[in-house]
């Protein structure tokens, strides 16, 4: 498909693997969720290559109208989070700007057969001809995957929801908007507790908003939230009911040599993710990815430059609004590699142990199925080598904001504006 014929509603807005990696969910601007399932035959074979096929598609959110404020509420799915599996069905939370929904995805492979009063095709039998009672029996049928909304968590956010995160207790989750974070119980839709409120008494004093929030993967009482000013606050829900006072504040002092008009804007954190082992967290600001040790608040332990060559282009990026793009980031299963997206359909990987980084491209021209990806390089200035691409030729409309890494294997999902790419580490 060429880019011209794509519907705007197909813009992918979130990507998330479930806890086993067997399922991959994507949400799009049109409010739809598409779930892919990994083909798991031959997993132990050396030539194993996973394929992800469409498993279920459903409309999660519809556009709505807020009558009180005369505003449209977009149906775009901002985030999807899977719940740990508790029985044969799968559950996920999906949210747009205002409403969070819990969806159940279940399989059905049997159907009932046998009516008393009519034939299977619907024609009614003669009522006088009924001589006995017939109990329906269940017969096998083709697998059908059904998605049904189980809970709707609405009316708790004045501002736009940017994050949802499920607690390790399997019972509660948080939702965060620009100024508030609410705690919900998965079973209760008509009440939520407000645990963080940074709205100032006088809105004119507003200088900072919440950009992302996440629960610690193991400690049920800990969560973090990041701000537009580049700070991350860690809160302990045990200490008090209202977590307005943080337990820890993570902030790196600014490098005075890099100060510019755009410093504050590019310091805004667009994503925060805990490592799987719960000892570190990663933050993404406009130009870099930082890894923080939860025990050290005054600076990150590692910093990786995603596209430093853009630092001299901030002015034009401000003019075309790209400076406000919100990139996400993710860890691999054993927390040794981190990944994030960039422009021109490039995405970057940083191997923490081996201190290596890689730039790869997700595009049809550069990736044929089953072919190894070539690494890419951007030339910041001076003589451009063959195979390199110059900064000025980068296409800023082709941005990779959403990426996800399989929880165990080296399989990644990368979303360009309209397409989803799934890459796998090459097998030997």
């Amino acid at each position: 498909m060429d880019s011209g014929s794509q519907l705007l509603t197909d813009i992918i807005s979130t990507v998330e693997f479930n806890h086993t990696g067997e399922l991959l969910a994507t949400g799009d601007k049109g409010g739809r969720v598409v779930i892919f399932q990994q083909e798991i035959e031959n997993k132990n074979q050396p030539q194993f290559r996973s394929e992800y096929n469409v498993y279920s598609t459903f409309q999660s959110h519809e556009p709505e109208f807020d009558y009180l404020k005369s505003l449209e509420i977009e149906e775009k799915i901002n985030k999807i989070r899977w719940l740990p599996q508790k029985n044969a069905a799968q559950f996920l939370l999906s949210t747009n700007d205002k409403t969070i929904k819990l969806w159940k995805i279940s399989e059905r492979d049997k159907r009932p057969e046998g009516y008393n009063l009519k034939e299977e095709d619907g024609r009614y039998k003669d009522p006088n001809a009924i001589s006995g009672l017939r109990v329906p029996v269940l017969i096998p049928m083709d697998l059908m995957v059904e998605a049904s909304p189980r809970r709707v968590f609405a009316n708790a956010h004045t501002y736009h929801i940017n994050s949802i995160s499920v607690n390790s207790d399997d019972e509660t989750y948080l939702s965060a908007d620009d100024l508030r974070i609410n705690l919900w119980n998965l079973e209760i839709t008509d009440r939520s507790f407000n645990i963080v409120d940074i709205k100032p008494a006088n809105m004119e004093e507003l200088t900072e908003v919440i950009t992302a929030a996440e629960f610690h993967p193991l400690q049920c009482n800990t969560f973090v939230y990041s701000s537009s000013k580049g700070t991350i606050r860690l809160c302990d829900m045990r200490a008090s009911a209202l977590c307005d006072r943080h337990s820890k504040l993570f902030e790196e002092p600014e490098d005075p040599s890099n100060r510019s008009f755009f410093s504050e804007i590019i310091s805004s954190i667009s994503d925060v993710k805990f490592s799987h082992n719960g000892r570190y967290m990663m933050t993404r600001d406009y130009l870099s990815v930082k890894i923080w040790d939860l025990n050290m608040e005054n600076r990150p332990v590692e910093t990786y430059q995603v596209h430093e060559y853009l630092r001299s282009k901030l002015c034009s990026l401000y003019e075309n609004d790209c400076i406000f793009d919100k990139f996400e980031c993710c860890w691999n299963g054993n927390d040794s590699v981190v990944m994030t997206g960039s422009y021109n359909n490039f995405f970057r990987m940083f191997d923490r142990g081996q201190r290596r980084d890689m730039t790869l491209e997700a595009s049809r021209e550069n990736s044929k199925p089953m072919q190894v990806l070539k690494t890419r390089k951007v030339c910041a200035g001076g003589k451009r080598k063959k195979d390199e691409i110059s900064v000025d030729s980068l296409d800023f409309n082709k941005k990779i904001l959403h990426t996800a890494w399989h929880p165990q294997d080296n399989i990644i999902a990368v979303a360009t504006t309209h397409n989803l790419y799934i890459f796998q580490d090459k097998v030997n």
Partner: protein
């Protein structure tokens, strides 16, 4: 013909069976609720061999349907052929017990518990216990959580080998990987402990209890607090100190406020369970700490328990303990920064007067009551006012009335209508306690003012209030004090106030009696049938219908009927409608 008769009786059942598969969930629900009818028609054998297998596999239905099914199956023993065959009900209930919807699972477990009683001890071991084992070792969290609810019902009646297996399963679930399962185990710990032999309680349960009370998940630890109460009641007094108290002390000082909250919430039960000696030595200091906790939610929960805790202290030292240890904390709470804490305290603090007696109340408690009566938060003031009867018993309400009246007036005029509503609801109670003279002197004007409040809910509540006052003080009092004022409103330029007159008449006519209603109220109502505003006129029709039963038939015929007939020809549709309604109702009354 015999065949035709057979068809007739089968037809409705056939419909019900077919509707089990209908697209409309209400029809499926209806069929499930009539499952016993279907089973009766099929007979026990077909129920066992055909109906139950079908139900076992159709568990992907709506929650309501599954819930109804789980409930039905709990009563199906006779329909499958009696206790001999009751185990046939286990497969469908087993699959319902794995559903993710908690209410359905809980109902399935409830039904399983019910039918377990109908299993013979042999069947219990052959069928029921294996089900429990399967659920307990199931892959899904949901089946393991359901298993937790079934151990206690099968344990008592099985052999000792099986008992050992059950204990082992429970132990395993208490240390399950998933918090959900550990929570289920923790919440059933007390119940399981009750059916175990005392030795096993000491050896097994205590270690499980201690482990759960130190779980890393807050949600598990706080459930252990609840279990604490049950376990403490089972153990002999001398073992409590070593086996239970260390864990309880730990919980009362837990880092998580939610666990401390739980301790505060269960404090009275804990007090009863541990007995007076431990209460004196351990619980009193623990209670003090909870009253001074840094988290307001915990202080509020503890404040709520002040009266109950004090009441349940052993008599001999009670007063001394309260005066030395509890009262100082209570005094601090009166000026707490958090309004919910103060409000919680206000709802129970008055109860202390009966415990401490007249002198202590006057010296120590009265200042606290008065301070809370002047609190800036309306809820605090309301809670004091609603509990005046306790104080009345001990020192008489006159002591408070000086401060009471300004407080009542302020609440009655609060800007928030819900606050005004709350005080109206206490008015009959207050009137009863303060007496009719006090009421006439001070509160009458308030009650009348409410009748013309801007908010309809207030006017409505005020009307109801008047009715209750008339019931308390009598028709003669009503005639002298309130009826004239109510009827006076019939001439008010605001139509809403004129309507309020009608609503009052509706409410008061019965309490006031035929005489007052006929001689004083009826003329006013009839006069308003000529009102300019249609809303008033149709309410006249409604009023006449309402007060009709109180009037005598003469008045009905000569005065009411003509007016209603005139209203039935009114230009306004609603007036005509209500007038006709009233007429048809009255005709019925008159003719009978």
């Amino acid at each position: 013909m015999a065949g035709a008769d057979g068809d007739d009786s089968l037809y409705p059942i056939a419909v019900l069976i077919d509707e089990l598969r209908n697209e409309d969930v209400q029809l499926r629900l209806n069929s499930i609720k009539k499952l016993s009818t279907i089973a009766l028609a099929l007979g026990v054998e077909r129920t066992r061999t055909e109906l139950l297998p079908f139900l076992t596999d159709t568990i992907y239905d709506e929650d309501e349907v599954l819930l109804a099914l789980a409930e039905q199956l709990g009563n199906f023993t006779m329909l499958v052929g009696g206790p001999e065959y009751v185990h046939c009900l286990l497969p469908p209930l087993e699959s319902l017990a794995t559903v993710e919807e908690t209410v359905v699972r809980d109902k399935a477990v409830e039904s399983l518990r019910k039918i377990s009683q109908e299993h013979s001890p042999v069947d219990l071991e052959v069928h029921f216990e294996p089900l429990v084992k399967r659920l307990a070792s199931g892959d899904w969290f949901t089946s393991r959580t359901s298993a937790c609810g079934l151990f206690s019902v099968c344990y008592p009646r099985v052999s000792s080998t099986v008992k050992a297996e059950i204990r082992q399963h429970f132990r395993t679930l208490c240390s399950d990987d998933t918090p959900m399962v550990r929570r289920a185990a923790a919440s059933k710990l007390g119940e399981f402990a009750k059916v175990l032999e005392l030795d096993y309680v000491k050896s097994d349960i205590i270690s499980l209890f201690t482990a759960l009370a130190s779980d890393e998940q807050d949600s598990v630890r706080l459930l252990a607090v609840e279990a604490c109460v049950s376990i403490a009641t089972l153990l002999p007094q001398e073992d409590l100190e070593s086996l239970v108290m260390p864990t309880l002390r730990q919980a009362a000082e837990d880092k998580s406020w939610r666990v401390r909250y739980m301790v505060a919430d269960k404090f009275s039960e804990l007090q009863k369970a541990v007995g007076p000696e431990i209460t004196k030595n351990d619980l009193v200091p623990a209670f003090q700490n909870l009253l001074k906790d840094c988290e307001a939610e915990v202080r509020a929960a503890a404040a709520n328990k002040v009266k109950e805790f004090c009441e349940n202290l052993p008599e001999e030292n009670r007063e001394q303990i309260i005066m030395t240890h509890i009262l100082p904390c209570v005094k601090e709470l009166v000026s707490d920064t958090n309004q919910h804490v103060k409000s919680a305290l206000a709802s129970v603090i008055m109860g202390l007067s009966t415990i401490l007696g007249k002198d202590n109340t006057i010296e120590h408690l009265l200042p606290l009551f008065l301070a809370q009566l002047k609190d800036e938060c309306p809820e605090v003031r309301l809670n004091i006012i609603s509990n005046l009867d306790c104080v009345n018993e001990v020192i008489g309400i006159r002591q408070l009335s000086q401060s009471l009246l300004p407080a009542i007036v302020e609440l009655a005029e609060d800007a928030k209508w819900r606050v005004r509503l709350a005080i109206i609801e206490y008015m009959p109670l207050l009137a009863g306690q303060l007496g009719v003279e006090f009421f006439d002197e001070k509160l009458n004007t308030l009650c009348m003012a409410w009748l013309i409040d801007h908010v309809y809910a207030i006017r409505e509540a005020a009307t109801c209030n008047l009715m209750k006052l008339v019931e308390k003080f009598g028709a003669e009092w009503a005639q002298n004090t309130i009826v004239p004022k109510v009827l006076g409103m019939a001439n008010d330029p605001n139509y809403l106030h004129r309507m309020t007159t009608l609503f009052c008449i509706n409410a008061l006519s019965e309490a006031c009696g035929q005489d007052i209603t006929t001689k004083q109220m009826l003329p006013v109502v009839l006069k308003m049938s000529n009102d300019q505003v249609a809303n008033v006129r149709f309410n006249v029709a409604k009023s006449l219908q309402k007060i009709g039963p109180v009037l005598d038939s003469n008045a009905l015929q000569t005065e009411v009927k003509p007016v209603l007939e005139k209203l039935a020809t009114d230009t306004d549709m609603d007036v005509k409608y209500f007038a006709q309604e009233a007429i048809s109702e009255m005709l019925f009354v008159v003719s009978s």
